[in-house]
């Protein structure tokens, strides 16, 4: 069975860097890449509503296109998470996909620019039982 890299993306520059690193790794290791984008849902009295817009989906699609262009087996997978549960959802997705490695940017779209490590990446390091590759944006 081909080994799998789970690449977690939002639409940030950090994700672009993580995508670049995943591409480099997958080219050399012949791993396949599943690009996972998580929709955050706010759940309230009248049902649930998506918090994020479609830019993340478009970005995930563009990453897959780039990976396929480089001859890498790649596809998008989108998951829904309740607000604040993105890291948990990614951890579950990694188990479902039996991913060998989870790749994330060090920080996502959080507007706390001073944070060295975003909350999703940080939580994922605690939650995942699988190797997590944290890619800094520099």
């Amino acid at each position: 069975m081909t080994s799998t890299i789970l690449l977690a993306v939002d639409d940030s520059a950090h994700s672009q860097r993580a995508a670049d690193v995943s591409k480099g790794l997958a080219e050399l290791t012949k791993y396949k890449v599943v690009v996972v984008h998580v929709h955050e849902l706010a759940v309230g009295r009248w049902g649930s509503m998506r918090v994020d817009d479609n830019t993340g989906d478009e970005f995930a699609e563009s990453v897959v296109k780039e990976l396929l262009g480089a001859g890498i087996d790649a596809r998008v997978e989108t998951r829904d998470a309740t607000y604040g549960q993105v890291a948990q959802t990614l951890s579950v997705a990694a188990d479902d996909l039996d991913a060998d490695m989870v790749v994330v940017g060090s920080r996502g779209r959080s507007n706390v620019a001073s944070l060295a490590l975003g909350s999703v990446s940080h939580k994922l390091l605690h939650l995942a039982h699988r190797p997590v590759l944290v890619v800094p944006s520099v």
Partner: protein, 183 residues
């Protein structure tokens, strides 16, 4: 395979010291087979660091990188005082731990381009320094800290936050077996 044991506190300059050793005719082999691209692995003798070494070897073999297995040692200090019996061979102990961990990780099949580095300093400072110019830094999720229930150790957390290169945090269960690491 060559080993560089330098006790000095200072910037991470093992390659320079390796070259110095070679110039002095002390290095075990010549430098021609040392890849420029390096994967740095933090080693402390824990099960996680064995997993980290195996993962590093797996990625290094795929990407053509060399491996720097780094162990750091410090005098145990409390309230600014170092209390250590004279002649306590901390450095030798660390070097032995490093070799033992390498044996546990690879047995007879150590990667050819592997540099064992034993240095005085704090693990986080040395590893963060080593991450400059490295292709990847690989660390176990937690090492020898006293709090066994902790999911992410302080050194791993510091590396993930502040390293200059991608950081792979490896958990014990996720160790690829030795057959896989060779492929």
């Amino acid at each position: 395979m060559r080993a560089v044991y330098e006790g000095a506190v200072g910037p991470y300059c093992y390659l320079e010291s390796a070259r110095k050793l070679e110039l002095e005719g002390l290095a075990m082999t010549d430098q021609s087979d040392v890849a420029a691209k390096r994967i740095v692995v933090g080693v402390d003798g824990s099960a996680q660091s064995i997993a980290a070494l195996r993962w590093a070897a797996r990625i290094a073999s795929a990407t053509g990188c060399g491996i720097d297995a780094v162990i750091a040692w410090e005098y145990p200090a409390a309230y600014g005082w170092v209390m250590a019996p004279e002649g306590w061979p901390l450095e030798d102990d660390s070097a032995a731990t490093l070799q033992r961990t390498l044996d546990q990780a690879f047995g007879q099949h150590r990667p050819a381009d592997l540099l064992a580095v034993c240095r005085h300093g704090s693990a986080r400072t040395l590893l963060l320094e080593a991450s400059k110019g490295a292709e990847m830094l690989v660390v176990g999720s937690r090492g020898h800290g006293g709090f066994a229930g902790l999911l992410l150790g302080s050194v791993s957390a510091a590396c993930a936050e502040h390293a200059h290169c991608p950081v792979l945090v490896v958990h014990r269960e996720s160790s690829p077996n030795s057959e896989e690491s060779g492929s």
